[in-house]
Symmetry: C2
Subunit: 345 residues, 2 copies
């Protein structure tokens, strides 16, 4: 899933250049990193399918030149995750009715690739006839993620235990998140899951019949995409399917994971130097600590005597944000929208 057009990484991310195309936590884009986590080990390029928006299709193809053109699914408009995943499931069912599909967001960061692969392989092995989520074992009382409460053991694969999903819970407040962390049966919902396409098809037919009907029409006439897709119900896979489906399971996964939700999060996934600084591009830090500078737009950036600062340069705009305040970057984008400064969005 390489849709989305987040504003939290402005000015590096823009409408035409969303987060999945940013090189965060490495030299390559998050999209490329996501592909390389699975291609060559779990699957080959013929079995990687990328779903993205019309505005980003050319960019995605450029990032992934090895991807067969037929495996790049282009949404004419974004309709949330259920149509996206449904569309891929319907198409793959046509290619191979026994196919299993792993849904992976293209804008997350995972440092321990082999641990990730082991868990993904286990989930694929267990997903013969059910939905299997990858749930992240929480390391802190995070209030920015949804949680999955686990229930009884359901299966095991590659020595790992898969459990029933008791319930999905929305982003908690701090106190609740601390309770979840202490209680031990709650996992972060990272939006990664695995299923046989036939199972997903059945679940969508049951819980989202309008979506199923639209996708059926699409399969009969691919040229109807532009007409049909915008009419599909705009609903998330969590709300539309996962929370209602029977027998959903989850594999607790302990590899480090980040949805890289802000510049603060981006700073945390990079390896800092001895003074806690992360420098990218043509930067010079003097007497500065715990700071992040992205000067890859080509200009020289000098930081003097600063602490806990995030500086992101771009050809036409510059952001300077104190660590811990990067949630407010969206206020900059809102102000630019309000003043109709399209060139900066």
């Amino acid at each position: 899933m390489a849709g989305g057009s987040g504003t939290r990484f402005w000015p590096a991310s823009r409408r035409h250049h969303p987060k999945q195309f940013l090189a965060l936590g490495g030299a390559r884009s998050l999209l490329r990193q996501t592909a390389e986590r699975v291609v060559g080990s779990v699957v080959d390029w013929d079995h990687l399918v990328v779903v993205t928006g019309a505005a980003h299709a050319a960019h995605a193809q450029k990032e992934l030149p090895e991807l067969p053109t037929a495996n790049l699914l282009v949404e004419p408009v974004g309709r949330n995750t259920a149509p996206c995943i449904g569309y891929a499931s319907w198409l793959l069912a046509k290619r191979d009715p026994a196919a299993r599909l792993a849904v992976l967001p293209a804008d997350h960061f995972i440092s321990d690739v082999s641990a990730f692969r082991e868990h993904l392989e286990a989930a694929l092995e267990a997903a013969t006839s059910r939905l299997v989520l990858l749930g992240l074992v929480p390391s802190r009382p995070e209030t920015g993620y949804g949680y999955i409460q686990t229930g009884a053991p359901a299966a095991s694969a590659r020595g790992m235990q898969i459990r029933e999903v008791k319930r999905f819970v929305e982003k908690p407040n701090r106190e609740t998140a601390e309770g979840y962390l202490h209680e031990g049966s709650y996992l972060w919902n990272g939006g990664m899951f695995v299923f046989p396409v036939a199972v997903m098809e059945q679940e969508i037919r049951t819980h989202l019949p309008a979506l199923a009907s639209g996708l059926d029409t699409l399969m009969e006439d691919a040229s109807a995409l532009e007409r049909i897709y915008p009419t599909l119900p705009s609903v998330s896979i969590d709300y539309g399917v996962m929370e209602k489906a029977a027998g959903v399971t989850v594999l607790p996964a302990s590899f480090p994971w980040s949805d890289v939700g802000s510049w603060d999060a981006a700073l945390e996934i990079d390896a800092p130097d001895a003074r806690g600084n992360v420098e990218k591009g043509d930067a010079l830090l003097i007497g500065s600590e715990r700071s992040f500078v992205d000067a890859r737009s080509g200009r020289f950036v000098a930081l003097v005597g600063v602490r806990d600062l995030i500086v992101v340069d771009s050809p036409d705009a510059l952001l300077v944000v104190q660590r811990g305040h990067s949630q407010d970057v969206k206020k900059v984008v809102e102000a630019l929208e309000k003043s109709q400064r399209e060139e900066l969005l």
Copy 2:
């Protein structure tokens, strides 16, 4: 005096664009502000003389299009202030042997122009046969300026008392500066002074005979400038003349004055908004306080959640410095010199 090529205002100031050409504390350059403080009131354009370096002559002429070409004195090389002031004195003595000359650095900031003019007029009135400095009444134990210790009353003009200069003292340490402030007889040496050109000529003949001799040669043959000027003794007017001359006097002046020695000082001369911020150009400050942003190079600059920060954008380089650390900006320039990044100097 519009020489000098300071590095403390990098990246706004560069070798080809030193501090006197920066618009600090107003919409116009410090050079233009300096000219406008006296032209039209104290003198007319015919009686303003600007001394600058060869590299900056065209720029100075552009800043001051009203200045007669004959009043722009161009030093082939900088030789400190004694040759600069001597050169002007010799030339003006040829025009009018009875002329009085006021020496004013072109890179200082004075907000109260009428108070400045009153003091300057008084000093000119008193300078019939002696050197009269303008000494600033200190408002804090500043360690960045030289001081002048005053002695007995020497004269009065326009209701203001002029005193003898007891001694000049170098930049003091903190404790000494506090002593000066408490003691009450010490003034800041702001490098502004007034004298009859005949008096300066005599003092230079007495204390800097080699300079006098070189200037005599120059007056006989203006075409010798390129050859003679580089051979003049490189010495400051303070060390070469002021500290040795007899009967030097000082007019204590109480108008606010700043030599704008750093970005920290620049921030202090601008009027901040209610949150203590100063914004120039295309800037947006969100949740930010006591910060200064100069975005006049044309790019959009957003500050989020920052405190006490100075951000200066330029087309090819960006500076972010914590307030109180702007003395270290010179370290950036030194690093650029060391790595021979001429394009950024």
